[in-house]
Amino acid sequence: MKLRTLTLGLLSASALAFAAHAESITIATVNNGDMVRMQKLTDDFTKANPDIQLNWVTLEENVLRERVTTDIATKGGQYDVMTIGTYEVPIWAKQSWLLPLDKLGDDYDVKDIIPAIAGGLSVDGKLYAAPFYGESSFVMYRKDLMEKAGLKMPDAPTWDFIKQAADKMTDRANGVNGVCLRGKAGWGENMAFLTAMSNSFGARWFDENWKPQFDQPEWKNTLQFYVDLMKADGPEGASSNGFNENLALFQQGKCGMWIDATVAASFVSDPKASQVADKVGYALAPDNGLGKRGNWLWAWSLAIPAGTQKADAAEKFVSWATSKHYAELVASKEGWANVPPGTRSSLYANAEYQKAAPFAKMTLDSINAADPTHPTVKPVPYVGVQFVAIPEFQGLGTTVGQLFSAALAGQSSVDDALKQAQDAATAAMTEGGYIK
């Protein structure tokens, strides 16, 4: 009897020990302030889910993209949660590489996700990634310099106004450039800006039959305006400047205006980092009166690869990290200004957030002004505001980015750059079977 009791006891203990054994999930992410903050706050999740252990893999953005693409394409199963953007989600979801997020919990409130963001992360009405933070782009400008120039920035400026203001604000003797814009080559660098800008000039990458459109006057107008503006009022060496370089210039007071990601607002208004924190105003991205603004839409989002063996645990984590509860947790620990922006409508209705983040309304208006499913003035066969959601775009976008960056640097003319872009796009589309 004693032996049997002992055996049963041991078996039960082993079973309990097995059950209590924590399941570990691996999360691949980028080194952004919001992501780093999330890693620090995960105690809240593990306390509520003691059976789930979290392993983090933080990588440089391009390495992360390459790593997760390799893993997901080969069904390597190395990651259970991946941080991906609005470019990857529609492509990967169509390939059945991602699991639909349909078990996020009763209190998750999917309808609270900002519609434009949810639209960019859904395919056939199903959500394939939950937004962790979202962004659009807008104009950040120096109120003091604008006043000195005798101008008043409208809430919704035109490109002509931007040019006029940049000309007046430029003061090379004092190191002030009227405008700072991205010039560094890359599909996510200068081409994110230029593609969004081209939408407001009536341009498009492809017509309805996937024929490249760089030989059309709308693209010529876009690129000529950009190159002329930057030559007259941009910083020296602008063809090497991306987000971080322009951020540093603006924080040092060397830019009158900077048109870039809305997420930059928290950096330029931070008195610890920015010399011009109390002088920054915000406006919608410019337009040309054609019905589309030059702003983009992006969301770093959490998705679950189809190859994971731990889908339930992964979805629990995704639900926690993108929930209203997480926003409140960040607010309680680090203040409302540090809550990841651009994902939930309820955040923008919160009076405390509006008080802590003076750029909140303009951020929401900018996000709402972007429509990834109808990004251009003329009809297009693709989805995406500052990108074209097809697998070929990463390579093609970077090639075109290099050509346009060379035009900005004065190494080639606008006409040559556009002709070469047309040739490169035609070759890529032919090779991809889009056109004959």
Partner: protein, 274 residues
Amino acid sequence: MARAVTTQHKTIATAAAWIVALLIFFPILYTIITSFKSEQEAIQGFALIPSGTMESYAEVQAQSGYFKFFLNSVILSVGSTVLALLVAVPAAWSMAFSPTKRTKDILMWMLSTKMMPAVAVLFPIYLIFRDTGLLDSRIGLTIMLMLINLPIVVWMLYTYFREIPGEILEAARMDGASLWNEIIHVLTPMAVPGIASTMLLNIILAWNEAFWTIRLTTTNAAPLTAFISSFSSPQGLFWAKLSAASTLAIAPILIMGWFSQKQLVRGLTFGAVK
């Protein structure tokens, strides 16, 4: 007069050597300087005097567990080096002392594998690692690093072994030494400087390898290269933190190189001047 010219030449040669050495070392020095700057200072432009802040080191330490990555770097670089020597010493011995008419071709073929871009074989290697369960494992990565550096190890050892007179080995054979004794007791002691410098160089190469170590690992086997990579940020300033992480990552190998420089130089110049 001749003495004056000699002194002048010596001074010029010394100055030239210092300039070249400083040029080579400058990127590392500037990384170390940048690590003691704030993020704002780091991006403001060229400046050799930092404010001396340690905030980047504090943030790097708070953000990632350095020691886990360091331990993986040690295991992978030492493990792959030992494994490479076990394979390369007999191979180089055979090619140096019993060459055939195909030996040169084999050596060239081995070297040619280093000329192929690594990314060209990323997918096949990834699939092999996936199917054998070696993804994110120290064993898998040790084998991978060994294979990557094996051509260089074989070539270096072959060059050193060629400098050893074959007659000494013949004499050992005449005295009845077996093949194993010949390698262990005759060849190895004579080739110690060469083997040591090969070992040191291989450790450095394995320590710095960043393509495969980042792509075949996630958490368990990730070495310091993955640690550095995690500090680059698409949105936000990161140069000071990245420099602090890089300084922490290269410090062990710099210190090792400093202490073993005599051995390293002796080995690398072994047989250069007869």
